[in-house]
């Protein structure tokens, strides 16, 4: 499932702005899984994808996705990322989700934790889709 579709799942009211084809695909989950996926499952999957992205982009070889705690900060005490990591992560997130994080002020909220980052991306995507839909 691509990330645009994963995001669709997380949108609360996508009826008017979601392409019809996409809606059908997104409710299917992975092949062989139940087609009915709860929002909690979707979110868990989305966060898991984000963790994999972070590990890949920042080459965190000793860290497994399950080692990253959803509520821990990404910088400093938690995952211990630094300013150069932030720059790389920002580029990757923009590439993958088309969501911009222009500076550390915005980054402070977005990188507060995995939960915060997921919320941030979903919120930005929702805003963008809504404004696109409104034209």
């Amino acid at each position: 499932m691509n990330n645009a579709l994963k995001l669709q799942i997380l949108l609360r009211e996508p009826i008017d702005i979601t392409p019809i084809g996409a809606k059908r695909v997104i409710s299917c989950g992975k092949k062989g899984e139940s087609p009915l996926q709860t929002p909690e499952q979707s979110r868990t999957e989305f966060i898991a994808g984000l963790k994999e992205l972070i590990i890949r982009v920042l080459r965190l070889e000793d860290i497994e996705p399950q080692d990253i705690i959803d509520s821990d900060p990404l910088f400093g005490d938690g995952l211990g990322l630094d300013s150069i990591d932030a720059l790389e992560l920002v580029v990757a997130i923009e590439k993958e989700y088309a969501v911009e994080i222009p500076d550390a002020e915005v980054g402070r909220h977005a990188f507060a934790s995995m939960n915060a980052l997921a919320d941030f991306i979903v919120e930005k995507e929702t805003t963008k889709k809504t404004s696109d839909a409104l034209g």
Binding site: D82, S83, I84, A86, L87, E88, V90, V91, E100, I101, P102, D103, A104, E105, V106, G107
Partner: protein, 140 residues
């Protein structure tokens, strides 16, 4: 890929008691070349500040290949890598003029901050234009 070069001579006060240039001075020599680059593209520290930014170094390294000795004439050359993120990576080489021997090779990474200390994750405006001009000089 191009370099910007400058020259200097190893001074007596720059060598240690073994007669070899003290390792920390190589970073000061790198700085000579960096300033030469920044001057060329209107990105000197005061010009950075005028645009509302500073560019602190967050990483610096140097590999020492051969000893520099008192009175050695040296060439320091620098270029800037094509940035993948909102940062500036300078690479340096120091060569002995008499035989062209490579004495040291180094690199610094600078991030960009607004004057209030907020780090920026994306370049924009005049700063972006000047940085792009500088990069395209080295990678025509």
């Amino acid at each position: 890929m191009r370099w910007v070069e400058t020259t200097t001579t190893v001074r007596f006060n720059e060598v240690d008691q073994w007669g070899i240039a003290w390792h920390g001075h190589y970073f000061a020599w790198f700085e000579l070349a960096r300033m030469k680059v920044l001057e060329k593209f209107s990105l000197l520290p005061n010009e950075f500040t005028a645009l509302g930014f500073i560019a602190p170094v967050v990483s610096a390294r140097c590999e020492f290949k051969k000893n520099a000795l008192t009175n050695d004439p040296i060439t320091i050359r620098a270029h800037v890598l094509k940035p993948q993120t909102a940062s500036l990576t300078f690479q340096f080489e120091i060569l002995r003029q008499t035989d062209g021997a490579l004495l040291a090779r180094g690199e610094t990474v600078q991030v960009l901050q607004r004057l209030d200390g907020t780090m920026i994750y994306k370049l924009s405006g005049v700063l972006k234009t000047r940085v792009e001009t500088m990069v395209s000089y080295f990678w025509p």
